[in-house]
């Protein structure tokens, strides 16, 4: 993900984001609306929890048996007339796709929104090879025209409002209709007209996939706008880049996910467009189909008994929409195409914790648990975050002064005698408080607290001292 190199740690990026009034307003408006709608859509099903546990079980079974299902997928895609390529990492995936586009003789491709190609930085790799990639999802187009980055998995331009989008279209879209206003239907119509000529001229389409069915070699793309259907059916060549965790054993398994995904992501009972194809059908749709199966850190993640549950993710975004941290920082602060709670556990696992941003992501959560509660595949995100924190602490290179503080406080807190002694010392701290009985300022690092919040003054007597004085210590 070359565009994310040099991202600052989460707290620094977030500091800027929480001060951006336009961003805060856009995010609160959008996430409040979508999470209310989701709760209603989910509430309509009385077997939601059962569906959720079933989905979890299907994913866990499949992930534990990739050695069976991936070769089966390859075999059936090949049998149906497609070609399967295996990519160990982002560079390999990008090289495979670039070669395929060149072989097709194209210098332009149309794309359906795809998280896998965001992850590999495919657009940048294609651009370096002189190939233009046109994003056809409305929000992705907004992001692309603005030389911006996506900030949400489902709604990549959630950080922009209609006024900002109107201004962007008038400035960057050479075929924007005269007098284009900020009215959403007119903005959509302008994008539609702009994209139509691209769809009709394209010879190569690039997509990801929501699901890949091993039993029949079928790929599934779920979308709302119909741009996906265009990209998946009009070009002569179709290249789909798909993470290896997207495989499902059979169509019966797919049914469960098609019930969970739309309600969780767009709060719809059913999404408007579901495109499913198996290899090549003579005379119908692309005649040249390539499936690029992407690892890029997934097998390493699979080796982690706690962290592997992140691979169950179906990219619905429900966790982003309920996250109080995401709502206040937006997606860019997470420095990854995968923002929000799922990004906080996925990015450090896929990319490692070598960079400032990846090392800080496990700590970018108050552990409130709202993400786990809404996750349609029951990923216990707080559990993984805490596990990642323990790893971070166990890595002797980091948190030098913090380790001393936590070592010392652990020494005190595990002993009632030392705790009582510390309480007697802390009690003098009450003299720091003024007449208000509140402490207004403390030295670093506790100043991070008192910059915005008062601290309580310690009482003259702790509870245990009161108990010992009034009731005695004999138990």
């Amino acid at each position: 993900m070359p565009t994310y190199l040099g991202m600052p740690a989460f707290p620094q990026a977030a500091k800027k984001a929480v001060a951006d009034s336009q961003l805060r307003r856009n995010l609160t408006h959008a996430t409040t609306a979508i999470r209310t709608k989701r709760a209603k859509a989910v509430g309509e099903l009385d077997d939601w929890e059962q569906l959720r546990q079933t989905a979890k079980a299907i994913k866990d079974h499949t992930l534990a048996n990739l050695g069976t299902y991936l070769p089966r997928l390859e075999e059936n895609v090949t049998k149906a007339g497609g070609r399967v390529h295996w990519a160990r990492d982002a560079a390999e995936a990008n090289a495979i796709v670039t070669d395929l586009v060149r072989q097709a003789g194209a210098d332009k491709v149309v794309k359906v929104k795809s998280m896998a190609t965001q992850e590999t930085g495919l657009n940048e790799a294609l651009a370096a090879a002189g190939i233009a990639a046109i994003e056809t999802d409305l929000a992705e187009l907004i992001v692309q025209l603005g030389h911006d980055r996506p900030s949400h998995i489902l709604v990549p331009a959630i950080h922009r409002n209609r006024a900002e989008i109107g201004e962007l279209f008038r400035r960057t879209m050479d075929d924007a209709p005269a007098g284009l206003t900020d009215d959403p239907p007119r903005l959509t119509a302008a994008a539609r007209q702009h994209l139509r000529s691209e769809f009709l001229a394209a010879t190569v389409g690039i997509s990801g996939a929501n699901f890949a069915i091993a039993g029949t070699g079928s790929l599934v793309v779920v979308e709302s706008e119909g741009n996906g259907r265009m990209c998946l059916t009009l070009p002569d060549t179709l290249i789909s880049v798909v993470g290896i965790e997207k495989v499902l054993p059979s169509w019966r398994d797919l049914e469960v996910f098609l019930a969970l995904l739309p309600r969780s992501s767009t709060a719809e009972r059913m999404n408007p467009y579901t495109t499913i194809w198996s290899g090549v059908t003579p005379g119908d749709g692309p005649q040249d189909f390539h499936l690029v199966l992407l690892d890029n850190g997934r097998t390493d993640t699979l080796a982690d008994a706690t962290g592997r549950q992140a691979l169950r993710c179906i990219r619905c975004s429900a966790c982003l929409n309920v996250c109080p941290v995401y709502e206040r920082t937006g997606g860019h602060a997470y420095g990854s195409p995968y923002p929000g709670p799922i990004g906080a556990i996925l990015s450090p696992q896929l990319r490692g914790v070598g960079s400032a941003i990846d090392a800080s992501l496990p700590f970018a959560s108050s552990l409130c648990g709202a993400c786990y509660e809404v996750c349609p595949v029951a990923i216990n995100i707080p559990e993984v975050l805490v596990e990642q924190r323990a790893r971070s602490v166990a890595d002797g290179q980091k948190h030098y002064s913090e380790r001393i503080v936590f070592g010392a406080s652990g020494y005190v807190l595990r002993s009632p005698r030392r705790l009582a002694a510390a309480q007697r010392v802390a009690s003098f701290g009450r003299h720091l408080a003024g007449r208000s009985g509140r402490i207004r300022r403390l030295p670093p690092p506790l100043s991070a607290w008192t910059d915005t919040r008062d601290a309580p003054a310690p009482p003259p007597e702790s509870f245990r001292a009161w108990w010992a004085r009034t009731r005695g210590t004999g138990q």
């Binding site: 707290p11 977030a14 929480v18 805060r24 109080p324 941290v325 206040r328 920082t329 496990p362 700590f363 970018a364 959560s365 108050s366 552990l367 409130c368 648990g369 709202a370 786990y372 509660e373 805490v386 924190r389 323990a390 790893r391 971070s392 602490v393 166990a394 936590f406 070592g407 406080s409 652990g410 807190l413 595990r414 002993s415 009632p416 705790l419 510390a422 309480q423 802390a426 208000s436 509140r438 690092p445 506790l446 991070a448 607290w449 915005t452 919040r453 008062d454 601290a455 309580p456 310690p458 009482p459 007597e461 702790s462 509870f463 245990r464 009161w466 108990w467 010992a468 210590t473 138990q475």
Partner: protein, 242 residues
């Protein structure tokens, strides 16, 4: 029933009145409460920040201090959840400790569910003539699943006017060390919580965790809102002045 009070290190050190309120309340209901002096801390802050090695002896100490009690009551849903959910993890490979922890954890209750679930009371005989709103703390809501137990208790308090808190289930931004490691996001979350409390026009905001109340209260006092925080136990222990 032999009841042990697990007061928690935070309440012990900074909010002793909450501990005294739990004692007053349970004694008023006719129960005897003991405070085992061997208790210290459940290890939540260390565990959640990644310091498992430091947290492990605290899980051991907790099991030793409370092993003999039929019920352990604590005025912190968050610490109760820590004991129930993660002490088994911390016991790890130590088979004897794991057995002790497994036997003990189902007997560990937060105050609200102990009153409504174990003792089966919702009217604790309290009198508190004030306009109060209730903040369901994240761990009480999503880890311990106390449900409406605190609200049923508050509705049983004479004179108390209970008002809804808008966006009640949104985190206040405390999150333990999160409040210091990500101070800007934490403060932004707290600002919205304070705005919701102001919107409720309550004079007292109440919760089952002093940690979250310390956070919310710190902002309420910094902004001179004139709204105060009170632990649920202190409201339930309030009696007639007469």
């Amino acid at each position: 029933m032999r009841i042990g009070l697990f007061v928690t290190c935070l309440t012990d050190t900074l909010f002793p009145d909450t501990g005294k309120a739990v004692v007053t309340l349970l004694e008023r209901l006719g129960h005897q409460v003991e405070f085992p002096m061997a208790q210290s801390c459940c290890g939540q802050m260390h565990f959640n920040t990644g310091y498992r090695r430091e947290a492990a002896p605290m899980a051991r100490g907790f099991a030793a201090a409370f092993g003999g009690y039929e019920a352990v009551v604590t005025p912190s849903a968050s610490c109760a959840a820590m004991v129930r959910e993660y002490h088994p993890v911390l016991a790890g490979g130590d088979a004897a400790l794991a057995r002790d922890v497994a036997a003990l954890t189902p007997r560990v209750h937060d105050l609200a569910t102990f009153l409504t679930g174990v003792l089966g009371v919702t009217d604790v005989g309290a009198y508190f003539p004030h306009r109060v709103t209730y903040h369901p703390t994240c761990h009480s809501l999503r880890l311990l699943r106390v449900g409406d137990a605190p609200l049923r208790l508050l509705r049983g308090v004479r004179g108390l006017e209970l008002v809804d808190l808008p966006e009640a289930e949104t985190c206040c931004g405390f999150g333990g060390t999160f409040a210091v490691k990500n101070p800007d996001v934490s403060a932004a979350m707290c600002a919205d919580k304070v705005a919701a409390i102001r919107q409720s026009r309550a004079e007292v905001v109440c919760a089952g965790d002093n940690s979250c109340l310390m956070h919310i209260g710190g902002a309420l006092s910094r902004m001179r809102t004139g709204v105060r925080t009170m632990h649920l136990a202190e409201i339930l222990a309030s009696g007639d002045a007469a």
